[in-house]
Amino acid sequence: MRTPSLAQTLILSSLVLTACGGGGESSAPPPGGGPGAGPGGPSTEAPANGGSGASSPAAGPKAWSDSAGTATLSGSASLAGDVPAPIQVAMDSDPKCVEMNSGGATDGSVLVDASGGLQNVFVYVSKGTDAWTFTVPEEPVILDQTGCNYTPRVVGMMTGQALRVQNSDPTVHNVHTYPKKNRASNVSQPAGSKPLEIEMKRSEVLVAVKCDMHSWMQARVGIVDNPFFAVTAADGSFTLPKLAAGEYTVSAVHEVFGKASKQTITIGDGEAQSISFEFSK
């Protein structure tokens, strides 16, 4: 280490001098110093609701009460064509996962039963609920990571509801959401961590949740503005109980096959109807 020369001392001092001389770079406060946005500024707008059309009619929506829901819509989703063979998943990157799936693991994205019923289709009412406002359930929707897989693979929740992701595995995961309209997040969750709460403030159907450490791990979350959604069971069936009488557009989405064609139904009080969605490869 040399001792600082006179020259270096001079530089230092000159730098300080110049630094002092170079002030005044901060942005000027707005004239008047007060709030800057006026009418028409986005601040005064209500947070916009994307997608499924929640804009209010002139009459104004009324609060939903469960007693109004007397109709039931049920149905099924199916996949046309052959039943695809299950794809084996190699989990060798993490021996803990191998251990938990000693029987071998298959990719869970396409699950079709013998009769063609397609599991894990997210079915929801995409139009027709404008007349009501719904209270967001306070209890969160649970997405568990167990056996190096998400359980359930597809979940639905209401806009503003919390998604609680928990790690029941003895290994580390990271919870990486891939929303388009909401805030993305990617947080790691080592074994034994406390659950994560993820919020989605805008409706968005099928947000992917992935674990980058275990590339096969995927889940989907459907976020809608109303409580009328369901995920098809192993045989492809679903039920939307407690619908009020009215006309609805019902949509169905699958993580691999995308959207099935929408269906519009008219249902009366106490009625039970059935519709079916067909997906193709």
Partner: protein
Amino acid sequence: MSMLKAILPSLAFLRSRWLGCPLALMLTSTWALAQDKRWGPGEAASDYGYRFHDLFWLITILVSVAFALVVLLLAIPVLRDRERPGHRASFDHGKSLHDKRLTAVISIVTFIILDAWVLVIAMQDLREAYWAIPDAEDPQTYRVEVLAQQWAWNFRAPGVDGEFGTADDIITINELVVPKDRPVSFNMTSKDVIHALFLPEMRMKRDVNPGSINKTWFRPITAGDFTILCAELCGFAHYQMSGKLRVLEQGLFNEWEAEASKLASTAFDADDTEAQWAWDWEE
């Protein structure tokens, strides 16, 4: 008035620190920055680098002699033939045959000594070294594709399979690793503006033009870390377009290449066609 206000701070500077400050600043700040001063380009690290050195100093000697003569011939009249009472210039239009011959002879002799000599050596250098671009087919030749951009050097080497446009191509930015004692051959082009690949320690420089492929080469003979600079104005961050050239001993290089190739194929995304930019090497 506003003009005056704008000027006033500058004037305050003048009052407070007067002349001493800028001068002191100028003299000191950067002297100290340059801790180890350099007066030349340093040792040449390529096999043809010595040619620059030899030719440069040959020209320097010739030019120094010539210039010394000019100064001498300028100084003698100034000292000897100044105007003074009773002194008169000699009357000479230089029209005589003798003068004409003298002019011709001196010019031609100067040309031969100063220029022709250098010219002959330079042509030799060009043919033997600078423009003797090695055969790309030769397995000894280490080939590198250069894709210059504002403001970075993208390098692509073929990797262990020796073929461009494959998964194991070694792609680096601002960093080039080459083997010692093997000719390194460049095919270069640019994405946007003209750049020039300048390897000062290798005494190598060649423009990198958009729209056409330029070739050049060198053979490193010293292992170590060297400099890559841009020598053609390429925009306002031109001065920052530098990189590192690393020359490795042959054995170490082979290891490095294998590892780099393996890492490259790990990082290769076959679907991402936009990321692939290799081209055919034409002779």
